[in-house]
Amino acid sequence: MTWVPTTADERKEMLDAIGVNSIDELFAAITPELRAKSWNVPEGLSEMAVRDLMAGMAAKNASSLVCFAGGGAYDHFIPAAVDALTSRSEFYTAYTPYQPECSQGTLQSIYEYQSAICRLTGLDFANASLYDGGTAVFEAATMSIRVTGRRRIMCHRSLSPIYRRMLETHAAHLDVEILTGDDPTGAACVIVQNPSFLGSVENFTNLSQRCHDAGALLVMSFYPVSLGLLKTPAEMGVDIAVAEGQPFGVPLGFGGPWLGILATRKEHVRKMPGRIAAMTEDAQGRRGFVLTLQAREQHIRREKAMSNICSNEALCALRALIHLCLLGKEGLQEVARHCHAKAEYLKKKLKFTTLLNKAPTFNEFAVRLPRNAEEVVQAMAAKGFMAGIPLRPLGEGDAGDLLIAVTERRTRQQLDAFAEALEEVSCR
């Protein structure tokens, strides 16, 4: 039950070299009164037993339902090469690239990831990744405060209620006012989400103009796959764009690890949190990559740092990058087009519900069912579907309201079967 290779003879030899008689002598600084007072830990299990135990746990989870749930986490197709490449242990067992000469794989991949995010959003700079889409909203809010010197954050109605709650939790003891609405007067930023939590797509160009006239920034949380079709944050005048990067090649994994994306305009780069890789050269003129602008970060600037972030989600950023490379310029458009067309097809099939979106949608929309949504999803699960997210438990709607997402993975046959089952279950 161990991954410790040291034999008893070797231990003896090493203790002799150190000049002590026992390992316990090495722990003399932990005096008896400081030792563990309880150790109620189960006996170790063999590898075989652990695998059985955990396969048993995994089997109790309904991971094979046909998925119509989104709400920030989407069931997109992940090509096999994403798993194959990111499971190379030169990537996943490496640490932070503190020694650039032996971390060029990491650093070049971060540079390529940053480039992909810039090309996707139209913005000038992206960092090497943040924790997730929710903490990225908080980081964008504090970044806006640093840029503007103002302490009011305006949350637009489109913002995910989960992100909003995370923002409130993280900022609870800062001298910051968090309000609902889109009035930029006196605000550090207005935070919008596009598509909205309920799936509606808007053009925020006018709002960005109003923000800039009032000296505020416009922060946008975007759905990365939607940028295969949608107007980019840069085209709408957004100053800081953030996203949950899970839809780019990262498994659902019951919530993490996922990927926080953050990109911004050139003029704000020094207020940006997180690591950044940059291209440079060695003495022989060979191209290489290093972490740069580290003087913004906690290990140098300590309490004056732009953020406390240290670990990021580099491996998930690599997944996203490889996924985007495999899709390519046309592939991303194709995936986005399929998501949209399939969602529109399903919408038409759900005439027995009331569509709650007033604006166009991308791949997610909200409906009001003629029956309690929680009862409906339970019955739908019995038919093999994860039918969506009931909105009332999230504080976002009435008892019959359901949020439905469609990805490129759903076939016409699944859409037809889903619509039929949903009608049967809701209207029975």
Partner: protein, 127 residues
């Protein structure tokens, strides 16, 4: 080795009269400690600062430091050359690498600062 016509702070800024205004920078010692300067954040012109207020910031690859106002006053000019050539701070810390100019200063506050000789002793003790 430090210019006699300036006064010095314990945070390694220098300040000297320049007509009706006072010009501020960081000392050769501070520039050497920081290493190659990569970026200087300058205040906005018109800003009023108290003595000792963090007024500018300077970054190198491995370090970052605030630059404090040696005396209170109003920022009346900044060295925009540093935006594109932060290396001036290393190359010419007491001349071309200046940071900002102050007006409306309380000259009495200068009396509390070190002269060149005192600063030289202070800096060599900081090694």
């Amino acid at each position: 080795m430090y210019p006699e016509n300036a006064k010095y702070t314990r945070d390694h800024e220098w300040i000297r009269a320049d007509g009706d205004t006072y010009v501020v920078g960081i000392t050769a010692f501070a520039a050497e400690q920081l290493g190659d300067v990569t970026y200087v954040e300058l205040p906005s012109v018109g800003k009023t600062v108290e003595q000792g207020a963090a007024t500018a910031a300077v970054e190198s690859v491995k370090a970052a430091s605030d630059v404090y106002a040696p005396v209170g006053g109003r920022v009346c000019a900044v060295n925009t050359a540093l935006d594109s050539a932060p290396e001036l701070v290393n190359q010419s810390p007491h001349e071309e690498g200046w940071f900002f100019k102050l007006e409306n200063v309380d000259a009495a506050q200068l009396d509390g600062l070190m002269d060149a000789k005192a600063y030289e002793a202070f800096a060599s003790a900081s090694h």
